[in-house]
C-alpha cells in the first residue's frame, strides 16, 4: 500500500500506525519501522515470537510506553485520522482506544466488580450508564457475575483475563488492544475467550488489535494478520491467506512439509522487505 493510498483510507481505519520506530531507555531499538492499520469493525492479529515487538507496538499505540521509558522516535500513529502519539493513555481511553495488558494485570486487592468499575473511571458518575454497562459485561461473562464479590487476586487465570477484558469494556471502547489473551490459559479456556472476543466484535462493533503467540487460534478468529520479526513486519495479509502461506505454516503453525527434516535442510525463507 502506498503512502497516499494509506492517507486516503485513514478515515475508515480506527488505528493507523505509520512506520514507527521505538527505542527503550534511549538505547534499545525495539521496533524498526512498523506500519499497520486496523479497519473499523475488524479483528487484526499481530503475530510473532517472543521479543518480536508485538507488545511494544500495542503500548506505542495506547501510549503506555512512556512509563516504561520507551519512546516513539520516528513515524506516527493516527486514530481515525487524528494524530495520537504524544497523548496520555487517559486521552486515548477518552478517544475509545483501550489496552488490555499482557498478563491480565487485575487489581488483586479489589473485588471483581470493583475491578470492572475502575474501567468506567473516565465516565465520571453517570450511574445509570455504568450500571447498564456492568450488566452488559456480566452478560458476556456470566462467570464474573458469580465471582463479583471475590478479590480478583484469588480468582483463576481465566477469570482474571475475563475481568481484564470486561474492565476495558466498561470504558465503552471502539477499539481494544488485546495483548496475549491466551497467556497461561488452558486450550479450552482460550477458545472460550476468543469466542467472546469474536462476539464483542460482531455485536458491539468493537475493533480489535490482537497480539498473540498462539498463531493458529489467532488466525482462525482474525480477519487480517501481520507477522512481526525482530521489530519489523515481515508478512501481512488476510487471515485465510496467511493460514495457507507455506512460510507461516512452517514457522508458526508447525504443519509445513512431511516427516522430520534436519534443521540444516530448512531454508530460511526470504524476508520480504516491506517499506511501509
Amino acid at each position: 500500500m502506498s503512502v497516499p493510498a494509506a492517507a486516503a483510507t485513514a478515515a475508515a481505519h480506527v488505528i493507523d500506525v505509520v512506520n514507527i520506530e521505538v527505542i527503550y531507555n534511549h538505547v534499545i531499538l525495539v521496533l524498526r519501522g512498523v506500519s499497520l492499520s486496523v479497519p473499523a469493525g475488524s479483528i487484526v492479529a499481530l503475530l510473532g515470537g517472543n521479543g518480536a515487538g508485538k507488545s511494544t507496538t500495542l503500548k506505542a499505540i495506547s501510549n503506555l510506553l512512556r512509563t516504561e521509558r520507551g519512546e516513539v522516535t520516528k513515524g506516527h500513529i493516527h486514530c481515525r485520522g487524528e494524530r495520537v502519539d504524544g497523548l496520555t493513555p487517559n486521552d486515548l481511553v477518552q478517544r475509545g482506544v483501550i489496552q488490555v495488558m499482557e498478563g491480565r494485570h487485575c487489581f488483586g486487592h479489589l473485588t471483581v466488580e470493583e475491578n470492572l468499575l475502575t474501567g468506567a473511571f473516565i465516565h465520571g458518575n453517570k450511574r445509570r450508564q455504568i450500571a447498564d454497562d456492568l450488566e452488559k459485561v456480566y452478560h458476556y461473562f456470566p462467570r464474573l457475575k458469580e465471582r463479583r464479590s471475590s478479590q480478583a487476586g484469588y480468582t483463576s487465570g481465566g477469570e482474571q483475563q475475563m475481568t481484564a477484558i470486561g474492565r476495558a469494556l466498561m470504558s465503552r471502547p471502539t477499539t481494544i488492544l488485546l495483548d496475549e489473551p491466551s497467556m497461561g490459559l488452558a486450550p479450552q479456556l482460550v477458545e472460550e475467550i476468543f469466542e467472546i472476543v469474536k462476539s464483542l466484535n460482531e455485536k458491539e462493533k468493537v475493533s480489535i488489535l490482537l497480539a498473540e503467540q498462539n498463531t493458529s487460534v489467532a488466525l482462525r478468529y482474525a480477519h487480517y494478520g501481520y507477522i512481526l520479526e525482530n521489530g519489523r513486519v515481515v508478512l501481512d495479509g488476510d487471515a485465510a491467506a496467511l493460514r495457507e502461506n507455506e512460510d507461516v505454516k512452517e514457522f508458526y503453525l508447525g504443519v509445513g512439509g512431511e516427516g522430520r527434516r534436519s534443521f540444516r535442510d530448512v531454508k530460511h525463507y526470504r524476508r520480504r522487505k516491506r517499506w511501509l
Partner: protein, 374 residues
C-alpha cells in the same frame, strides 16, 4: 490500683490517637501509590508552622504583609478551582477533557481576588479558621508541586527510588518551612479549655484526670477515619486510588490519570498532616521536633498494617496505651527483677512490639493479605 491504671490507660489511648493521626497520612499515600512517604512528618511540621504563623498568636516577630497576600492568593485560587470542579462533577454531571487554560485563568482570578482582599485587610493575625483554610490550600499547592516536580518523573520506578525521593522532600520541607516562617518555637491556640477534666470522682478517689485537648484530638481522628474509610471504599476516586496502589500500569491502561490521582492523595495526606500538626502544635508548641513524631508512626504502621486506615488508628491506640502502661507498670517490675536503672521503656517499647509483629504477622493487624496464588 484500678484508678491509676485506668488513668494511665486513658491517657495512653489519647496520646495514641495523636500517633494515629500521623500514621494515617502515611497509610493514605502508601495505599494509593505504594510509596512510603518519609516526608509525612515534615508535612506535619510545615502545616503546623504555617497555621501558627498566620494566626500569629504570640507577639513575636510579626510576618510581613507579603506572606499574608501570598497565602490569601493561594487560598483564593484553591477556592476557585475546588468550586469549579465541584460544579463540573456534581452539577454539570460530566467532564470534558481537561481544559488547562481555563483552569489556569480561573486559578489566577481566584488568586487575584484573594490577594486583593488580604492586601486591603492588611497584615495581622488571621482568625484560626481562615488560617486553617489557607494552610489547607497551601498543602494542596505543595502536593501539586511534589507531583509535578518529583513523582511524575518517577512513575513505575522501584519503590526504593520513590522512598529516597520522599526522603529528599522531607529534608527540603523541614528546612524550607523554617526559611519561610522562621525557626522559633510558636504556639497555636485552638481556644480549648486548658483545665483537665475529672471523671468518675465518686468511683475512684480523686477521679480520672483527662486532658480536653486530647479528647478533642480523639474526636477529630474519629471523624477523619470515618470520612476516609467512606472515601476509599465507596467513591469512584477512592476506588481509583486503590487501583493505582495495586498496579500503576494497569490503572493507567484503563484511563485512570496517575497524575491527578497522586495530586489528590498527596493533598488529602497534606490535610491529614494539617490536622495532626495543629493538634500536636497546640499540645507541644510548634517546633522542629514535631517532624520527629513521624518516627513514632512507624511502629504504629507495622502494627496496624501499612494499607489499613482503621489499622492506623488501632495501632496508634495500642502503641499509645502500651508505652504508657509499660512505663508505669512494667518498669518497676524490671527494676526489681533485674536491678536495672529503669525508665526509658516508653522509648523502645513501641519498636520492640513492632519487631515482634514483623516476625509473626508482617502485614500487620489489618493490612491487606499478601496475595500469593499457587
Amino acid at each position: 490500683m484500678l484508678g491509676p491504671f485506668l488513668e494511665t490507660l486513658i491517657g495512653g489511648l489519647l496520646t495514641g490517637v495523636l500517633y494515629s493521626l500521623v500514621a494515617l497520612g502515611f497509610v493514605l499515600i502508601f495505599k494509593a501509590s505504594g510509596v512510603f512517604n518519609f516526608a509525612q512528618g515534615a508535612m506535619v511540621l510545615f502545616a503546623a508552622l504555617t497555621v501558627a504563623r498566620l494566626t500569629d498568636e504570640i507577639d513575636g516577630k510579626a510576618l510581613g504583609l507579603e506572606h499574608f497576600v501570598i497565602a490569601a492568593a493561594v487560598l483564593g485560587a484553591a477556592l476557585a478551582l475546588v468550586g469549579w470542579y465541584a460544579w463540573r462533577e456534581y452539577v454539570a454531571r460530566g467532564s470534558g477533557p481537561g481544559e488547562r487554560r481555563r483552569l489556569a485563568l480561573l486559578a489566577a482570578g481566584g488568586a487575584l481576588i484573594g490577594g486583593v482582599i488580604a492586601f486591603a485587610y492588611g497584615k495581622g493575625a488571621w482568625p484560626l479558621w481562615v488560617a486553617l483554610a489557607a494552610t489547607a490550600s497551601i498543602m494542596g499547592l505543595l502536593a501539586y508541586a511534589i507531583e509535578r516536580l518529583v513523582l511524575r518523573h518517577l512513575v513505575n520506578q522501584e519503590g526504593i527510588i520513590l522512598f529516597m525521593a520522599t526522603l529528599g522532600i522531607a529534608n527540603f520541607l523541614d528546612g524550607f518551612g523554617q526559611t519561610l516562617w522562621g525557626s522559633d518555637i510558636y504556639t497555636i491556640n485552638l481556644g480549648l479549655p486548658k483545665d483537665p477534666i475529672f471523671l468518675f470522682e465518686g468511683v475512684f478517689p480523686g477521679g480520672l484526670l483527662i486532658d480536653p485537648a486530647e479528647l478533642f484530638a480523639a474526636g477529630i481522628a474519629a471523624v477523619l477515619v470515618v470520612v476516609l474509610a467512606v472515601f476509599f471504599q465507596k467513591t469512584r476516586v477512592g476506588r481509583a486510588l486503590r487501583a493505582v496502589a495495586d498496579d500503576h500500569a494497569a490503572a493507567q491502561s484503563v484511563g485512570i490519570p496517575l497524575n491527578t490521582i497522586w495530586l489528590i492523595v498527596w493533598t488529602v495526606a497534606g490535610l491529614v498532616a494539617l490536622a495532626a500538626g495543629v493538634i500536636w502544635g497546640a499540645k507541644l508548641g510548634v517546633q522542629f521536633s514535631i517532624s520527629l513524631i513521624a518516627l513514632k508512626a512507624l511502629p504504629v504502621l507495622i502494627l496496624g498494617g501499612f494499607t489499613s486506615v482503621p489499622g492506623a488508628i488501632i495501632g496508634g491506640l495500642i502503641i499509645g496505651a502500651g508505652e504508657k502502661l509499660s512505663e508505669i507498670f512494667l518498669a518497676p517490675i524490671l527494676v526489681q527483677a533485674f536491678d536495672l536503672a529503669g525508665g526509658g521503656i516508653e522509648n523502645w517499647f513501641a519498636y520492640m512490639l513492632a519487631l515482634i509483629f514483623l516476625l509473626f504477622r508482617p502485614q500487620g493487624l489489618f493490612g491487606e493479605r499478601i496475595i500469593e496464588r499457587v
